[in-house]
């Protein structure tokens, strides 16, 4: 249990800069999710915290101690890898115990800690099995167990659920979050799945091209995206972006409006006109995809009760001014 501080952390591989300076203060026991598109540097950032990748510049502190040059094992962290990285020839028990054995923890204590973790993760019946005799979800749990038994100050997760099927993912998501709460361990969790980010995070870091575009609580980020990228990345279906001039936004280069903040009205009655391209009726809601007069794709989300426009028909779109999110030419929120 500890705080984690990144101070203007940068990383370059040779001449390519991958992380352009990330700073964040993580509170003790906080669950931080790093989210962003593929290749934006999430894993690299996490691996720097783990000590698997050297920091090019900046500082990383765990529990107030600068750990830039500390070996992974001495950083008091535990990591869960995307493909679990279980030792294939060892039993579940030995997989979980390996780190403790190396740390020369006395045998009875190893036994005790592994049993506890196994109980917590419902792995007790499988302790003597080899990883290949387990299902994906069980392997995932073993990987978690291996992290738990070390009683680290910080948990690091690199897309731990991306190899699981959708249903299991939802279940494991809840389990991981509950576990982290129960243990009160600070956690850094990498994902590219925004639903995971929204549901699990105390605060999330939205990364874009090696930069932390925004750091904040999920709902704050959702309601107040700091950049055009964040507005487009967080939320599904994504935010609609409209030319500022077309809707009379002075100053705003582009304007973002979330699909649920738009209503369909008669052609000419709203603030923007377009042609309904196609509609996705999802039961509780309907997504209407509209092509505006200027050629922009716009999605309107409406409740099931509303009439669904004919495909190809002319429609108007309306929204409240307070729901507008204006961005400048650099994509920063005004």
């Amino acid at each position: 249990m500890a705080t984690l501080t990144l101070e203007n952390v940068k990383k370059s591989f040779g001449k390519t800069d991958v992380i352009h300076g990330v700073s964040v203060d993580v509170q003790d026991g906080e669950f931080i999710v790093i989210v962003g598109p593929s290749g934006c540097g999430k894993s690299t950032l996490l691996r720097m915290v783990a000590g698997l990748e050297a920091v090019s510049s900046g500082d990383i502190q765990i529990g107030g101690r600068r750990v830039n040059d500390v070996e992974p094992m001495d950083r008091d962290i535990a990591m869960v890898f995307q493909n679990y990285a279980l030792y294939p020839h060892m039993s579940v028990f030995d997989n979980m115990a390996y780190g403790l054995k190396i740390a020369k923890v006395p045998k009875p204590e190893i036994e005790e800690r592994v049993r506890q973790a196994a109980k917590l993760l419902q792995l007790e019946p499988y302790l003597t099995r080899k990883p290949r005799e387990l299902s994906g979800g069980q392997r995932q749990r073993v990987a978690m167990g291996r992290a738990i038994v070390r009683k680290p100050a910080v948990f690091l997760f690199d897309e731990p659920l991306s190899n699981l099927d959708a249903k299991l993912r939802v279940q494991m998501r809840l389990e991981i979050k509950a576990l982290q709460r129960a243990l009160g361990v600070t956690a850094l969790y990498v994902t590219h799945d925004q639903v995971e980010a929204m549901t699990m995070a105390d605060r999330m870091i939205v990364m874009n091209g090696g930069v932390a575009d925004q750091i904040g609580a999920p709902l704050d980020v959702y309601a107040n995206p700091a950049t055009e990228f964040v507005a487009g990345f967080i939320g599904s279906p994504p935010t609609n972006f409209i030319d500022g001039a077309a809707v009379g936004q002075s100053g705003g280069h582009r304007v973002g409006v979330r699909p649920e903040h738009m209503q369909l009205v008669g052609a000419g009655a709203g603030r923007l006109d377009g042609r309904a391209a196609y509609c996705e009726a999802l039961g509780a809601e309907t997504l209407v995809h509209v092509k505006s007069a200027t050629g922009t794709q716009i999605t309107v989300r409406q409740d099931a009760g509303h009439p669904i426009p004919e495909e190809g028909s002319e429609v108007g779109m309306d929204w409240d001014r307070e729901n507008e999110m204006p961005f400048n030419a650099e994509g920063k929120r005004l």
Partner: protein, 284 residues
Amino acid sequence: MAERSGMVEKRGLGLWLTHLGLIIGVLFIFFPIWLAFVASTVENQDIIRPPMPVWPGDQMIENYTNALVAGINAPVALMLFNSLVMALGIALGKIAISLLSAFAIVYFRFPFRQTFFWLIFLTLMLPVEVRIVPTYEVVANFGMLNSYSGLILPLVASATATFLFRQFFLTVPDELAEAARVDGARPMQFFFDILLPMSRTNIAALFVILFIYGWNQYLWPLLITTDPEMNTIVMGIKQMFPSGDDFAHWPTIMATSILAMVPPVIVVVGMQKLFIRGLVESEK
């Protein structure tokens, strides 16, 4: 129904034909070995005077005991022991060295890593027979003629096994090494605790191949062992052939031949399961 039984019949016939073919093949290969065995159980005169007998005689125990304790130049038991030392030395030495060098090449960044790899790889093109004269010179200068180290060391340095282990290590996911690092394993701990157990089927397969390779060495031992006490069995058989007008004592020679075949067979049969697993499956 008729069609089905026809098919079963046909398959049955095919099965018989296949087996027949296999049996003929086995007999064909086995016949010379059988003759050698027969020759090792009769008296010398029975062999020299045609026709050659095809059924075992009653001299088996005498011939084999004679071969093992007395032999012709040196007791066969001693030659067997020499061969065993050489084959084990080569197999284990090669495996140990190539495991370590493959480990270094795959997991460590050091200057000229690729160069070293290609240098090792190049030695693949230089089997003992090609470098035999300079190697002899070196071994002679080190005073290793007529010694186990002279028999073993020049054959230990080779790339085949290094190359195989390198290929295997490359298929081991990087995350495994990273997980071990996070768990606090030092490089050699990772090597012994994780990499080595994961390679055990490969090691077994390689052991079988290298043991037989070492056991069957002929030219090299012939060259550097002049003392009959250091003869290995495979070359020793040749040394038993008489020079000049002497008579060959065929039963002893044949008994030696049969004895020479036994250890490789034991190794292959004993390690068959692991061997085949090592060839077909890679456990990850």
